[in-house]
Symmetry: C2
Subunit: 481 residues, 2 copies
């Protein structure tokens, strides 16, 4: 007899759902392995396109040269004894060498644990970045470095949720890290719907509706999550939307969790941080927002940095009670610290080469090239969606995703039911089997009843794979017409 | 009004204790910052010795050259376009270059997320290592790569604990990761005492006593944790001890969690893995141990590698139900993957340069030098403890710690009580204030009632700091005589 079976393990882990790396992703990995072994067989494609997850370097995006040159020196500080060779033999610029020396002075060795909260010197740079970005000061003591934003979300939700009555307002659709973590914690995800008709903006009405319903059910709603720019929606929130969320949070005494990992992936308008919006409100209406608690998260995985595998990020905790912060500190201590080389990437993200510095020209060229190619790919995909029958999509505004609605034929819905699947699961599975393109069904993020979507990144190079989707969709619609 | 206060946050996080980075560690960091600012004032020491945590590279241990050379190339693959410069200008050997190419082929880019379970190629190398170590095969599908062993423990306990009645047998004294994580999970740590009189061996009698008491209290005991070599005890378990734990686990249907992160830090006898012992038992008594579930954990943070800051590790899951493994997979997916450069360090740890390869001589010299210096430092500290009044310590056998008993004068115990502290807390705080040496009181790990201990690493170079402890102790004893 096994001590553990599916029937006696932690039911809250069992209940958690995380479709981004769920059935489709596992199946696509199997296909990839088959193709790699030369066992194509009857697979109707030669390559797998992992459009299920924002993982740019898996899709051949080149890392930023400055970042990786510095990282190579931090990993092997003995190289710094050969500055001549670095400069003349390998083309390392002086600012690369200087930055490596600075970071090594700051962290000691990247092989040593840092302080639980992260290297003080890196946190100082983060605070300076936030100050430059927002025009309002930030305190390094409020910055926590984390292993990607995910581990920050995990830590924050661990503190926020007191018991099974504790609820957190979560946008629908949402990146499922939130619902999954709340499930593991046996706390309540309180859904509020984003408004597809306004390019997935936040609707105060819908937030209130979600909140009121939860309160009526006896849920102790404690926090509201906002993802801006949006994941999976690709939306970019207006200053009005942000202000109304902050006003609502202050009125209802809610912690605001602002997931701002896509803050530099913005194609229309300008990113406005929740921190800046909060400080402005505090100036406009003195006294009214002094108690508001805001945690805002950022990451090296997204933006033009795209260093997912290095697991780096930070969160700023504004307005939290010092005793509560001390408990977060203890909680993160149990896992010792965030990866230290990841902390160094955070430092470089918030403090990249500046104009006039030797590495600036190349950094700028690479950075702008990535930005431009994201925008172009997003537009190419968006144009393709416009031409697909029954597909509607908001124009690309931010993040790394598009999240089109699909109107599926009745016959397809019936066939899905026969196979025990949700219609969008059925559709995306068919897409994977036909094209090798792995996406995530809308049901993995949540969506209004009776609507169906899928999320795709626009990171894959070229347009050939977009053609595969278009052709698949045409055949799918014909098959079930 | 704050949404969160110390009185309404998650009570299970609040209840968790993690003394390794607790009050003393925080105070020592403050001292360090003061000294760094040149504000020594009346501090009676010039340096802080962080002997509270096994963090070798914080104490100036040089990383293994091969590992860091490879890491530098993986971080900046463009360097591989200059093999000539690497070889002739920087002294990189061919096997460094080859290993970097192999790892890059395996993981793609270290800036990309890997599979949730870790890179398949790295897991294959881990399986081969286990096979070489034990003489029994291992399956890469059973290997999970993790961010240090800590995140593996976190994942495993998350699955094992079903509800607040679920209990896990934990050695006392123990590394507090276990009790802290169980506390966060609102599950029960079921203590079993290690036997100080047999150099902190496991006593079957004490395990049974702990188990029976818990069962009598209605606890559903599901697993037993063994830390071998011991943390904080520095013990190294005999084959008899290991066999009796496995027999007991099989009899009571318990999952065995073998924390074997110090498997290469062994000074007396030979390390025997739980996996090997299990396979031997299975051969000796066919059928009897087939269902036993064993998870064994390893890490790049310890051993002679000491790459704590890179957060790498693995666990092997032997005998687990596939459905249970799938839930672990889902759980780790939510945090995406372990740091990929850390995964590469795991690969190098399990597959270091071999005899005949160009980097072998230097690797061997560095590796053996670290091993020897650990042993020497442990012995120097042990010899000092022998001479200290009221201090008794088992001879160094493994891991990175010594855990002496201290018999404190009655007056010291009274003074501690007056200050609202446990006597060993009082003692170690006094030690920090007098010497700058930061240790951890035995109460941070658990100990038998009425006994007092402290844990110190023996990683700090030189013996000057040992002299500080000796002098402090003499004065302390005089003061409270």
């Amino acid at each position: 007899m096994k001590a553990l079976t599916i029937n006696n393990i932690n039911p809250h882990v069992k209940a958690a759902k995380y479709a981004v790396r769920g059935e489709l992703a596992v199946k696509s990995e199997e296909y990839r392995a088959r193709l790699a072994r030369g066992e194509k067989g009857d697979l109707p494609f030669d390559t797998i396109i992992p459009a299920n997850i924002g993982n740019p370097q898996q899709l051949d995006q080149k890392p930023l040269t400055f970042f990786r040159q510095v990282a190579s020196l931090i990993e092997n500080p003995l190289l710094l004894e050969h500055e001549d060779v670095l400069r003349n033999g390998l083309g390392y610029k002086q600012d690369v060498i200087d930055r490596a020396r600075k970071l090594l002075k700051d962290v000691g060795s990247v092989g040593a644990y840092s302080q639980s909260q992260g290297s003080p010197a890196v946190r100082e740079e983060v605070a300076k970045y936030i100050e430059r970005r927002d025009g309002f000061p930030a305190d390094p003591a409020n910055i926590f470095l984390s292993a990607g934003a995910s581990s920050g979300v995990n830590a924050l939700l661990h503190i926020i949720c007191e018991n099974e009555k504790s609820g957190v307002l979560v946008p629908i659709p949402q990146y499922p890290l939130y619902t999954a973590t709340l499930s593991v914690l046996n706390a309540q995800a309180v859904p509020y719907y984003l408004d597809e008709s306004t390019h997935w903006g936040t609707s105060l009405e819908d937030i209130k509706a979600g909140y009121d319903k939860a309160v009526a059910e006896g849920i102790d709603v404690r926090a509201i999550v906002v993802i801006n720019p949006g994941n999976p929606t690709g939306a970019s929130l207006s200053s009005e939307d942000i202000h109304s969320v902050l006003r609502f949070a202050a009125e209802k005494n809610l912690v605001v969790m602002a997931d701002e990992v896509y803050q530099t992936n913005v194609f229309s308008g300008k990113f406005i941080s929740f921190k800046k919006a909060l400080r402005e409100l505090q100036q406009e209406e003195p006294g009214k927002y002094d108690e508001l608690e805001l945690a805002s998260l950022h990451s090296i995985s997204k933006g033009m940095v795209g260093e997912c595998g290095h697991r780096g990020g930070y969160y700023e905790m504004v307005g939290f009670d010092p005793e509560v912060k001390a408990e977060i500190y203890k909680f993160v201590s149990i896992q010792l610290c965030a990866p230290v080389i990841g902390q160094c990437f955070v430092e470089m993200m918030v403090n990249p080469p500046k104009e006039g510095e030797p590495s600036y020209a190349l950094y700028k060229e690479e950075h702008d090239g990535i930005y431009k190619s994201y925008h172009e790919r997003a537009m190419a995909l968006f144009e393709a969606f416009k031409k697909m029958e029954g597909v509607e999509c908001a124009s690309p505004a931010g993040s790394m995703y598009l999240f089109p609605t699909i109107t599926l034929p009745e016959k397809a819905i019936q066939q899905a039911e026969k196979e025990g699947r949700k219609p969008d699961e059925f559709y995306t599975l068919r897409m994977l089997d036909a094209t090798g393109v792995c996406t995530v069904p809308g049901s993995g993020f949540g969506q209004r009843d009776g609507t169906w979507h899928f999320r795709t990144t626009f990171l894959a190079p070229g347009t050939e794979w977009i053609g595969r989707i278009v052709e698949f969709h045409r055949k799918f619609m014909d098959e079930f017409r």
